[in-house]
Amino acid sequence: MRQTLLLCMTFFLFATITVAQERSVTGTVTSAEDGTTLPGVSVLEKGTSNGTVTDVNGQYKITVTGDNSVLLFTFVGMATQEVSVGSRSSININLETDITQLSEVVVIGYGTVLKKELTGSVASVSADEIGKLPVLSVNQALQGQAAGVFVTANSGTPGGGISVRVRGQTSINASNDPLYIVDGVPVEAGNLVQQGFGGEQQNALAGLNPQDIESIQVLKDASTMAIYGARAANGVVLITTKTGKSGESRINFNTWTGWANETGRVEMVGSQDWIDLQNEARANDGLTAKTNADWGWDGTTNTNWMDEIFRTARISEHNLSASGGSENTTYYVSGAYRDEEGVIIGSGLERFSGRINLQTKASEKLSFGTRIGISNDKNSRIMNDNNIYGVYSASVLTPSIKPVYDENGNYVDALPSFNTNPVRSALVPRYDISTLKVITNLNVNYNIFEGLDFRSDFSYDLTEVSEDLYAPKSTSRGRGSDGLGQFNYIRRGTYAIEPTLRYTKTINNSHKINAILGSTFQERSTISSRVEGSGYGRESLTYITSAATITSGSSNRTDYSFNSFFGRVNYSMDEKYNLSASLRRDGSSRFGSGNKFGTFYALGASWIFSDESFMSGIDFIDLGKLRVSYGVTGNDQIGDFTYIGSWTGSANYQDLPASAPNNIENPNLKWEETSALDIGLELSLFQKVDFELGYFYQNTTDLLYGRPLPRTTGFAIVQENLGNIENKGLEINIRSVNVESNDFLWKTNFNIAFTKNKVLSLIDVNDEPLPQGFASAIIIGEPLNTFYGLKFMGVDPTTGESIFEDYNGDGSSTTDDNQVIGDHNPDFYGGFTNTFSYKGLSLDVFFQFVQGVDVYNYSQGFAMFPGSPWGLNTSLLDRWQNPGDITDIPKLSTVRGLNGADNSRFLEDGSYVRLKNIKLSYEFPQDLISKAKIKNLTVYALGSNILTFTKYTGADPEISSLANTSTAKGTDFLSFPQAKMYSIGLNIGL
């Protein structure tokens, strides 16, 4: 009886339990970061194959079996959460962003891959990180954010050129810019402005609003780059713009306004000092002193030209965006306006930009989307750099003894010989450069059957630049021609069609294959024209329609086409062993007929050793990965028709057109080739720290260079592929969450790269240094951008004369004693960001540093020679005057002698640490603002470039006048400094 009762009770219990096991659980999944509901979150009952996905409202319903069931919530970019169901029937989940990025998806060429499965080296910068910086363009946003990516601004010109180098410089004559791909569209990266503005150039990416960017991935190693073949040797920057998410629509308005000043300036002496220094130099040379009247000084004028041209500039930006979508269609729309004055009068930039990104699922199998970004910017420029008509340059050169205006209020021709007036040069001429930029992409995706998709991208990138330039005859530049007007126009459009087949398959849950096969058709057409007129009757007539003579005019067109076939396979076993292989065959119209197509490939492998059984005891390592890759990529930026033997039609005889030889053909001309090895270790520790250590070695061969020819051939050089450059280095990347308590969060992001560059060979005749720029040279065995000149040993305290090292030991100091005196390659560089947040308050501090670059301070050098009529630098006040004086400035003299030769007295340490960005923001609490139906209200104060720690005595250690060369960077010749800015802003999200 008892046994039966026990049995019945057990059975009854069982029955109850059995009945109780089948239970429905529902809930909503939201993002902890911004409270939005999350559709598409995978909800899985652990240990079973029972799962579902949250719907468009973030809600789910799942039937679980038993109270002990555990639900797993997973979503890309979010930390997976495991919850015991217990007895609950309603479980709401708040997913946190995955700090350790274990499940992060990385965009690589033609697709994405899990960070875990990546075999290569990719640096990622997120929308958050970009959004914090008040920069004009996206390449500025990369500075200090990615190990191995060295970004420098050429000058402080708004919209001016930015130099981006991924893992060092590979080329001398071909471009060193990486390949920029925006949403699959290859985008123009070069300078298209036809009027020279010295090293300042134009930033081709200024048209893309950084606020529209979701993420930037920089592909640095062969296994990720080789799929881009002949365009990839300098790295690939993949930019993805924002897309909408299904769910409620979000509207965001961001506005800020700031005040900017120059980060530094060159100090020039006042009038009395100028007269005294000039006369002292004359006295030292045995010449009689000149009176104030002889010098042209009225005895009182003391113009501080720097004060006259610099101002506090106003910068402001307004961004409005809306995003959202339904189950099948998502959208992101934005519009922005930026008004940026330059810190030098007469300069500034205005940009209007807009974007619309749409993605829609038309049917079960077909989806397509389009992304269109348009921007128009107008840049009012001033002449600068190594240019006598420049504003900053003339301000250094013009002594303070002349006033800005004369007694009638007219501009004085203050700079001797050239007759320029810095203020007039800034305000009177018109140099307006308008750029229209359109980047558009249409993608079509058709799912053929499970795992196989056909996708085709159609993209178009258009850049149209018109330069409206006029210098009236009152200015020194326009005087000789009675007013000089120019109008230049260039239109460059690139279209590309890329059909691809993509295949994904998982076999037995442990073998994962991801393959892609595709081809590229790309064609670029450039049409340009220029016209120049002179002879303008009056100052108010400023367009060429009023010019008396059309002095010159021309138009031209060049085309470039590119065709490839590529494939890649990624194989992953047990999520532990990953292999990738890619192959690409590229043909370019730039290559000679003997070498029309090139083959590029890469192999990569990675091993998640932390998942191995021998690591099972070591809990603090969440992820440990070893990776290695090797491959070959190319650089086809060698000039559109360099291989063709050509004649010009511009010779003439008897006033009839004649042809003359121009370029000797080289049918074997091909791309520059880089073979790269990458080895890395990635660790995620303690759920708090991500650590990455990488080593790379890159060998670039077949550098494009002009081999000198004996003139009996009729030509001076033949363009050939010769030359060999090596780049190697170490990269370290650390992301950590240092403190994470209830209300307080402290995160750090640190990256550093140690790099070395060396020219291994070039032309094999004599191995003589090849002079470049002012004081630079290409020397075999040294890095590019090496400085070559006399070594300054100091000033002799007895005589006040400069001492230069007698390098060749011939007993005398002459220019034959030139030696390597420095170089502009960093020993290391990187960035250091700390973010602190407490409740709604957050402080973001970003330092960027560069160590080991030398800068040739030629701006100062030019202003240290009395005897010329130019302004003089305040450092001359410390000159040697009497025997026994210990100083670095030699005795003044009107004769330059060897002091005027390239020497290391003007070579300074350009290392710096800069507080690039500091942002204090306060986010109003949800409960306060939700009453007004506002989802986000943040106010912030921001300082950018506000502190620079450097030993460099010039205006800015980062700038470079000859930045458009690969061999003479780091020469500061009258380039103007960047701006530091304080701003306040407001962000409203609805």
Binding site: I448, F449, L452, F454, P499, T500, L501, L517, S519, F521, N556, R557, T558, D559, Y560, S561, F562, N563, F565, R585, G587, S588, S589, F591, K596, F597, D640, F641, I644, G645, S646, W647, T648, G649, A651, N652, Y653, Q654, D655, L656, P657, A658, S659, A660, P661, N662, I664, E665, P708, L709, P710, R711, T712, T713, G714, F715, A716, V718, V765, N766
Partner: protein
């Protein structure tokens, strides 16, 4: 499934086949490619004009070819600032002298154009008369380029084709071989250009004619030392009746096509001659007439007008248009033919007659029993600043006598030849060890 597989095959093939060779063949706009530079009559004419245009270069008849023989000798002194010209004045030219290097380079570019015409003209459809004419002009040009080089450097590499591989390792020929080559080219040119009329009077002087070829042959044979042949050619040119001495000496120069001129290089305001800029005080004033030259002018000589004084400085006055560069550089003219015939007939009455023809044009008295020195003196003044003096002194072996007085400290017998440019020796292995003596 079948239809799906079909779709896949189609797509894959579509992707794979479009590795299109044609797609990446692009022709540049507005660049004349090597393949098309001579493809028809018009382009062939354009190429020949390019050859003449090359003569206008500042390293040739736009300055140096007329000035260097003056600076090296006792005709001009250095009055400017270029250290490379100072070297010439002191007869201390070093192999790295940039001007010498550029003179070499400029001539070979011209030779390249001439050879391009000669190689390609057979491949196009062209009127046979025009073809002969263009070939003749190209041969004339090639000969003149080599001749000017030989006069400075001695035996030079003879460029007979455009093949890069051949030209980059070409060796020096001997002086004799060089002269033979030049003479052969000019003989052919004279034949091909027989009866050719370029059109206007000016055109016939700006471009090569058979008379230009014969006049040049006279000079070449003179320099070679073959006086008899030189005299024969000079005689033929004089007796052709095509040219006559200008009544007023200075009318030969300037922007005209003088009756006396046989071959001169074109210039205009659109295509300016820079020579004046180098000689004149309102230009660079890089060279000035030497005191020896000034002293050599006889009293009453109309040709004293070849020098004048500008701002108190003595300057050569054959090229004077600094502003618009319209002076035409004379290469060959009738007066030279008379003097060549005179030299060829030394000891005979003909010599006296010819010298006196020139002298009487210069309003000077007659000479009898003229000697070589008399002829050299006459050439000194008559052909001044036209690039003759140095060559005259060298070919008559008088250069050491004269120059050791002018530059006693720096003159050496090796200075008779210019050094082969160091750059050429560095780039062309076949020239190693073949530098001129003393360098």
């Amino acid at each position: 499934m079948k239809s799906v597989m079909k779709k896949i095959y189609f797509l894959t093939i579509m992707i794979l086949t479009f590795s299109c060779q044609d797609f990446v063949e692009k022709q540049p706009y507005d660049i004349i490619t090597d393949a098309t530079v001579i493809q028809d009559e018009e382009s062939a004419k354009g190429a020949i004009l390019g050859m003449y245009s090359n003569f206008q270069d500042g390293n040739q008849y736009g300055n140096f070819i007329i000035a260097v023989p003056g600076v090296l000798s006792d005709e001009l002194i250095h009055s400017g600032s270029f250290p490379t010209v100072a070297e010439m004045d002191q007869n201390e030219v070093i192999p790295t002298n940039v001007n010498i290097r550029n003179i070499w380079a400029s001539h070979y570019t011209g030779i390249y154009i001439a050879n391009t015409v000669l190689e390609r003209i057979g491949t196009i459809t062209i009127d046979p008369t025009l073809k002969s004419q263009l070939q003749g002009e190209a041969l004339f040009g090639r000969a003149l380029f080599h001749f000017n080089l030989a006069n400075l450097f001695g035996g030079v590499p003879l460029a007979k084709e455009t093949n890069l591989d051949v030209l980059r390792s070409i060796s020096r020929a001997t002086l004799a071989e060089t002269f033979d080559f030049i003479i052969s080219d000019l003989n052919q040119a004279a034949t091909l250009l027989a009866g050719v009329d370029h059109g206007s009077n000016a055109d016939n002087k700006n471009r090569a004619t058979d008379w230009a070829a014969k006049a040049l042959l006279a000079r070449v044979h003179l320099y070679k030392g073959d006086l008899v042949t030189a005299g024969t050619y000079a005689n033929e040119v004089i007796n052709s009746g095509k040219f006559s001495l200008e009544a007023n000496y200075m009318d030969i120069f300037g922007g005209n096509a003088s009756s006396e001129s046989i071959f001169q290089i074109f210039s205009s305001t659109n295509d300016q001659n820079g020579a004046a800029f180098w000689f004149r005080v309102d230009g660079r004033y890089e060279y000035a007439p030497s005191t020896e030259f000034q002293n050599a002018i006889e009293a009453g000589d109309v040709r004293a007008a070849v020098i004048d004084t500008q701002s108190g400085k003595v300057a050569a006055a054959k090229y004077v248009d600094v502003g618009t560069g319209t002076d035409q550089s004379i290469v060959l003219r009738l007066a030279e033919m008379y003097l060549i015939r005179a030299e060829a007939n030394l000891g005979a009455i003909q010599a006296d007659n010819d010298v006196n023809t020139i002298r009487s044009r210069a309003k000077l008295g007659n000479k009898t029993n003229v000697t070589l020195d008399d002829i050299l003196q006459e050439r000194f003044i008559e052909l001044s600043f036209e690039g003759h003096r140095w060559h005259d002194l060298v070919r008559t072996n008088k250069v050491s006598t004269v120059m050791s007085v002018i530059n006693p400290l720096t003159w050496g017998s090796n200075d008779v030849l210019m050094p082969i440019p160091q750059y050429e020796i560095d780039q062309n292995p076949s020239l190693k060890g073949f530098q001129n003596p003393g360098y």
